[in-house]
């Protein structure tokens, strides 16, 4: 789903002594059917921006077009419900949204809001729970009875159950252990690959995730987009990123250190383990030949 922001401005606590512009006259186009990451320092406006993508926030000024929906400051809430059917959103710590008596009912809550019958909703819920790796023995347990990692997967199943076209992820791996983080990202990536029309927008502090999974990376600072490009292009600009409090993936840091130390050229834009090993190996081969 294509997104187009036109002079988008969002002001927090307007007309109070605490008034601040979180987003300032932003123009942005994000093409559909791609995996986009948004990176930026805390307070750069990235979370505020993505909450416009499913109409949770309405622009204070300017407008935003998501697929066929246009949202302005005076757009009626009612018109935004169908939009939320197509744009799913996983918040930071999504397990905080669990409330139902059983895991199955919690996941079925979304579909039932959009008019599914109980049987249909439960059928969808079961599929989604299986996809995120929740055992069917747990379906009738309370969502507050299972482990933290399982709670998060249940909550994510609750969002996927709406079968959105565009999935927005706002730091979905925060607070998970490294293995859990990797599993979670893989789950999202698999979901994305499953169908052609699906897109993902990921807000993250993990440069490794942004580098590894995205087709395009958008860099935000001070409520505006300051740069965008492929992970290769963006993470080649270490100095610029560090100026706004960001960094490059660890693999890039390692290869750049190696390059500086040995004073020879090597490929520094490797974001997976395999690519990194490859780059080091070809460096060693070259060294051996010299």
């Amino acid at each position: 789903m294509q997104i187009k922001a036109n002079h988008l401005t969002y002001t927090y606590m307007k007309n109070t002594p605490f008034e601040t512009n979180a987003i300032d006259k932003l123009d942005l186009m994000i093409p559909g059917e791609q995996f986009t990451s948004i990176i930026g320092h805390t307070g750069s406006g990235k979370s505020t921006l993505v909450q416009h993508f499913n109409g949770l926030l309405k622009p204070t000024d300017g407008s935003i077009k998501i697929g066929e929906w246009t949202v302005k400051s005076d757009t009626k809430q009612k018109l935004l419900y169908p939009l939320r059917r197509h744009v799913g959103m996983v918040f930071q710590f999504p397990e905080h949204q669990l409330f139902h008596e059983t895991i199955l009912a919690d996941v079925a809550y979304g579909p039932m809001n959009f008019g599914f019958s109980k049987e249909e909703a439960e059928k969808v819920a079961k599929e989604c729970l299986a996809n995120v790796g929740i055992d069917d023995q747990l379906f009738d347990r309370s969502p507050f009875d299972v482990s933290g990692g399982q709670m998060r997967r249940v909550a994510i199943a609750g969002v996927l159950a709406l079968d959105p076209e565009l999935l927005i992820l706002d730091e979905p791996t925060a607070g998970l252990d490294p293995e859990g983080q990797e599993m979670m990202m893989k789950l999202f990536h698999d979901w994305y690959e499953e169908r052609e029309e699906r897109s993902i927008i990921l807000v993250t502090h993990q440069m490794e995730d942004a580098a590894r999974y995205s087709d395009e990376v958008i860099v935000m600072d001070g409520g505006n987009v300051i740069d965008r490009g492929t992970p290769r292009q963006i993470f080649a600009k270490k100095a610029e990123l560090e100026k706004i409090g960001l960094t490059v993936p660890e693999s890039v840091q390692l290869l750049e250190a190696l390059q500086a130390h040995s004073e020879s050229e090597l490929n520094t834009s490797a974001f997976t383990l395999e690519d990194t090993v490859e780059s080091i190996l070809s460096f060693l081969h070259k060294k051996g030949r010299d």
Partner: protein, 267 residues
């Protein structure tokens, strides 16, 4: 979403009212509230209006911000006014329809109660708008000290109040986040019958309760880990100091109280 809530909110400003000792503020407001409801003499009421207005101007709180936060209270005050308007059966009949009679006493009573409530809310919210939660707690604890003799847990009461105040913004933030998360899952809070709307609040209230209990537990552990052991033998780094302005402020409110009593006798 909850941008307009001003309960418990502190607005940092460099004003006369901000600098007044919290004990003086608490006492002054206590006096004001008690005596505001004693007399209905026009002189006393206009004095109350002048005092409230002056305090408000001195506090340098932006008027527009304040008005936005008062919207909900205004509805409550309006309903109280209507109740008094229709329920009072005194004075002469002004409106006499088959289904509705309004007496002149109703208009007077309704306006009086609305005015008093308005002044009361204005003053009370000025207290939290101009006093940091820490100062407020210190002030309360000091004022309640005499009660300690009769084994009232004053320190604990003050602590409870400051924790409650401290967590209002946190709770509002939490609520706003959960509301958004459920809206993203298609929750609809503004359509359907009253019963349906009430039921739509369950997905917000349950996570909110769960979170609050968790937070309370975390807070208790954090306090114990840092050796908190109640108020016994605890000394204070920040001492409250009574200044001349504090005496003047109290003086104004004592004068108001005295005048109220005097005019009460004249009536």
């Amino acid at each position: 979403m909850f941008d307009n809530v001003i309960i418990g909110q502190y607005v940092p400003r460099n004003s006369l009212v901000h600098k007044i000792d919290p004990r003086a503020k608490l006492l002054a407001i206590l006096l004001f509230i008690i005596f505001l409801f004693i007399s209905r003499h026009p002189v006393v009421l206009s004095l109350a209006i002048v005092i409230t207005g002056t305090t408000f101007i001195l506090a340098k709180i932006p008027f527009r911000y304040y008005i936005k936060g008062m919207r909900f209270i205004a509805i409550l005050i309006f309903f109280t006014f209507l109740l008094h308007l229709f329920m009072t059966r005194e004075g002469t009949v002004i409106v006499d329809w088959p289904w509705l009679t309004v007496y002149s006493g109703g208009v007077v009573e309704g306006s009086l109660i609305a005015l008093r409530l308005f002044l009361l809310v204005l003053m009370a919210s000025l207290l939290t708008l101009t006093t940091t939660p820490i100062d407020l707690t210190d002030g309360m604890e000091r004022l309640m000290k005499p009660l300690k003799r009769i084994r009232v847990p004053t320190h604990e009461l003050a602590l409870m109040m400051s924790i409650a105040l401290r967590f209002i913004p946190t709770l509002l933030g939490e609520t706003s986040k959960i509301v958004k998360a459920q809206m993203a899952r298609g929750a609809n809070f503004s359509e359907g019958s009253l019963w349906k709307r009430l039921k739509s609040l369950i997905p917000i209230l349950i996570p909110l309760f769960v979170q609050s209990f968790k937070r309370a537990e975390d807070l208790a552990i954090a306090m114990e880990a840092r050796g908190y052991g109640g108020g016994e033998g605890r000394t204070k780094f920040r001492q409250l100091r009574w200044k001349r302005n504090d005496s003047i402020a109290i003086g104004v409110f004592v004068m108001f109280a005295l005048l109220t009593i005097v005019f009460g006798f004249i009536e």
